[in-house]
């Protein structure tokens, strides 16, 4: 008898762990084939991609520096995704957070105030939340699809950023580059070591991960949101309000995306520029899914994607591969991960001969 696919009575806990490993392995195999096809030695390329970047202190610093915003944003997104609240516009919320925070950093009357950084933090969070509040209001009150609205808001945010850095906020001494003046020192997170770009904003991410774990696994509100995500009718049956989940899911994810934007401006960039984010808001969606919407999974997913970014840059320099390889990698990994989830709920093999009786 041929192979059959059967639904498992209970999701397999073995496969929950094994599926991501299988997916990663498949990604490596397929990408090796891809490298070989375009004339690169697969092993050398994979080494240059995944190992070489981590062999220096600077590499490690960059690894964590890039992983931090990805993990931070993904934690927020995952809270919404668990409740079927699809915020796809974290990129826009990040941008607006960076704009709001930079605005405070640039125009606060006392540039040396120790309050400057905390104020920017609040401004970044408020900016991201405000941007997410629009789709939240429209979904909760007007029944409008939040996927499309958050995305449209992202395009608008990018245009707003462009307007500011090309116009009123442009640094007059900046040789016409689309960027603002540098932020004052008090507006910056401090570095662990002046040689490397990693800074103390990473603690925000650490706190966020723990908070997210607590919220999703231990809090009653997190439970209510997961009911709403898995079975909306059951949530209504139990009397859990959908609008609560929508507001919270969007405001949390918008807020942390805004904080991530603030941390970019107050960290590695030191100013607001037209390219505030290399697509962190979108990549964080992948991180959230790779991490199975679970706090610790997201940490692993964020580290993995960050490594993909680093590796992509590295092979661009050392082997002349195009930067698009990174996004192909991301896409492939996401593809295999989503597909491998099937193994958790279904088994493939010969049919089991069950014992008689129901």
């Amino acid at each position: 008898m041929s192979l059959q696919i059967e639904r498992r009575a209970e999701p397999s806990s073995l496969m929950r762990v094994a599926a991501p490993l299988i997916a990663t392995l498949l990604t490596l195999v397929v990408s090796s084939i891809m490298f070989a096809l375009i004339g690169h030695n697969p092993l050398d390329t994979l080494f240059a991609f995944f190992v070489a970047p981590l062999l220096s202190m600077n590499g490690l610093s960059e690894w964590l520096l890039k992983a931090s915003p990805l993990i931070l944003i993904a934690c927020g997104l995952a809270i919404g995704f668990r409740a079927n609240v699809w915020n796809i516009g974290a990129e826009g919320q990040l941008v607006v957070g960076a704009i709001a925070a930079s605005g405070v950093g640039l125009f606060y009357p006392d540039p040396e105030s120790p309050l400057l950084l905390p104020l920017m933090f609040l401004a970044g969070m408020a900016g991201g939340m405000a941007w997410a509040a629009v789709p939240a209001f429209l979904r909760a009150r007007m029944n409008t699809n939040e996927i499309l609205v958050t995305l449209m808001m992202t395009y608008i945010a990018t245009l707003l950023l462009s307007l500011l850095v090309h116009g009123p906020w442009r640094d007059p001494d900046g040789f016409n580059y689309p960027q603002t003046a540098l932020l004052p020192n008090a507006a910056m997170f401090s570095y662990f070591d002046a040689t490397y770009r990693l800074n103390t904003s990473i603690f925000i991410t650490v706190i966020a991960v723990v908070a997210m774990w607590f919220f999703t696994e231990r809090s009653f509100f997190g439970y209510k949101m997961s009911v709403g995500g898995a079975a909306p009718l059951a949530a209504r049956y139990a009397g859990f309000k959908e609008s609560g989940s929508v507001w919270l899911g969007l405001l949390i994810s918008g807020g942390v995306a805004g904080i991530a934007g603030m941390a970019e401006a107050s960290g590695p960039l030191g100013q607001l520029s037209a390219q505030i984010s290399p697509g962190y808001g979108f990549a964080a969606i992948i991180v959230a899914f790779i991490g199975r919407l679970n706090a610790f999974g997201i940490v692993l997913g964020g580290l993995l994607l960050s490594l993909l970014y680093l590796g992509g840059e590295a092979v661009q320099l050392s082997m002349g591969l195009p930067s698009a390889v990174t996004s192909i990698f991301q896409g492939m990994l996401l593809f295999f991960l989503l597909a491998s989830d099937f193994l958790i709920f279904y088994r493939i093999g010969r049919p089991v001969a069950a014992q008689g009786g129901t």
Partner: protein
């Protein structure tokens, strides 16, 4: 003469379950053959195998003397096998004739087909308008569409899966006439049912299934209900025990002039519904499905709050505008007809599902979940209500219908509600679990709670209820005491033909 259909040793396994185990049966031309068995006995699976909607693991099927290999519904239809599904395979958003066209081969000619539909529906006394949209049709009319769809093909074998569950007793009699006419024309019928009286009234022969196995064959007209039941269940039918109903002085649940508009595309409006349920009694709402039960229950549970507060009162408090959570805080509990996805979250553990409505019982402190309390509550329900599952960590979707229903009923009863609303308490539940659930409802009412049961199974309502109401086209009848009425009278009310005045003299009118 060759049998029209012969099955030899058909087996079908699912993970953990054998749905059919070496089932054999044979049907002659013009024979009306019953397949009897309780919920979960494997009747529907067997019929889908014959029709080709699912494949058997083992066994042989012979049709008119020709062995049939693995086949799909298209092959079956070409052979002359047609099937009327229990949950109709109809599409609501398109017209009757379009639905029928989907099952007819040949050119796509809706006008020509409409004429045929009219002809056949007149010949067999099944009037339908081919151009109406299916979602405008009543359940009974939908069944006619399904049957006409089959008859258009001049079937040699017609399979009907629990066809009477959506009909009033009077409509059942009408259907049987049509079926007898068909059989007299040489068409064989396979009639799936768990209702003994119907099988005795209609069928020439019967094959009885239990746990996927054939436990016997019989000639129902010559057998007794007790004998058939024993073959079906393997024991005597369990009975429920009633104490005397001692009702509270004031109604616990009261509905006054509840109206809704049918603004939803697939809904029905409720028309001025009023009734009371007192503590200590079970009130049943009978009716053919689709007559407003879903809308009424949703208004009562709070899933759809009403526009004005005073139309629904709970222990005297106006609750119409409150959501389900609010009403639960006031002592309402509710078992919905959809277990997976409404009464329980399919991918969640049983302990999480216990928390769904049980969280009020000290499982949440300062917004944080007390896992231990949730686990204990789940385990407690499983023990008291005899729920067979793999511990409180089992996911809801892994439970059988009966066990999940016992879990949900248990969860709601253990909340010690003042008012419990139950929709379709034993739908798709095996006999043992059904009796258990019914007894649990009776016990709850006798402890002083008001219980409202909405069901399409008249037998069930007559078994457990103290008073009965009938819902038809969004209107509700005055209540009658169970002792003062019979299936015939309730059946008439279900068709909406009867006026309340003909019931009133019996003296069982709402107090």
């Amino acid at each position: 003469m060759n049998p029209r259909l012969e099955l030899r040793d058909i087996s079908k396994r699912y993970p953990g379950v054998v749905a059919n185990d070496q089932v054999s049966l044979s049907v002659m031309p013009g024979e009306i053959h019953a397949v009897l068995g309780e919920n979960g006995a494997g009747k529907s699976t067997l019929m889908k195998i014959i029709y080709g909607a699912i494949g058997a693991d083992e066994g042989e099927m012979v049709f008119d003397g020709t062995p049939i290999a693995a086949h799909g519904p298209a092959v079956s239809r070409a052979l002359g096998i047609e099937m009327v599904y229990q949950h109709f395979a109809l599409f609501e958003s398109v017209s009757v004739v379009e639905n029928i066209a989907l099952c007819v081969s040949g050119p796509f000619d809706l006008a020509g087909l409409s004429v045929q539909v009219r002809d056949v529906s007149e010949k067999y006394g099944l009037p339908i308008d081919p151009h109406r949209l299916v979602h405008d049709l009543s359940v009974g009319e939908r069944q006619r569409v399904e049957i006409v769809r089959c008859l258009l093909q001049d079937p040699k074998l017609l399979i009907l899966d629990e066809p009477t569950s959506v009909l009033t007793p009077q409509a059942v009699a009408k259907l049987f006439e049509t079926l007898r006419q068909l059989a007299s024309e040489g068409c064989s019928l396979l009639y799936i049912s768990h209702k003994l009286d119907e099988v005795q009234a209609l069928c020439d022969t019967a094959t009885v299934l239990r746990n996927g196995r054939v436990t016997g064959t019989a000639e129902p007209k010559k057998s007794t209900p007790t004998k058939l039941a024993r073959m079906m269940v393997g024991a005597d039918l369990p009975e429920t025990h009633h104490g005397k109903a001692i009702t509270s002085g004031k109604p616990k649940l009261s509905v006054k002039g509840l109206m809704t508009s049918a603004d939803d595309q697939f809904g029905i409006g409720l028309k001025n519904i009023s009734f009371d349920v007192f503590g200590g009694e079970i009130v049943g709402i009978a009716g053919v499905s689709g007559n407003g039960q879903a809308e009424l229950v949703s208004c009562l549970s709070g899933e759809t709050p009403t526009k004005t507060a005073h139309v629904i009162t709970l222990d005297g408090a106006d609750v119409g505008q409150m959501d389900a959570g609010h009403r639960r805080r006031l002592g309402l509990a509710f078992v919905p007809e959809e277990r997976l996805g409404r009464g329980a979250v399919p991918p969640h553990h049983l302990s999480d599902n216990a928390m769904l409505t049980g969280h009020r019982l000290g499982m949440v402190k300062n917004g944080m979940i007390n896992r231990g309390a949730a686990n204990a509550y789940a385990s407690d329900i499983m023990q008291k209500y005899n729920v067979k599952a793999n511990g409180h960590e089992a996911v809801a979707s892994s439970l059988s219908g009966g066990n999940l229903q016992k879990f949900i009923v248990g969860r709601e009863i253990e909340l010690a509600p003042h008012v419990l609303i139950v929709s379709q308490p034993t739908w798709g539940v095996d006999v043992g679990a059904a009796a258990f659930v019914r007894q649990a409802l009776i016990d709850l009412s006798r402890s002083g709670a008001a219980v409202l049961v909405v069901s399409e199974e008249l037998d069930e309502l007559f078994e457990i209820c103290d008073r009965l109401l009938v819902i038809c086209q969004g209107e509700i009848s005055p209540s009658v005491d169970r002792a003062d009425t019979d299936v015939e009278e309730i059946g008439l009310l279900m068709t909406g033909l009867n006026t309340p005045s003909s019931v009133a003299p019996s003296g069982g009118i709402s107090r």
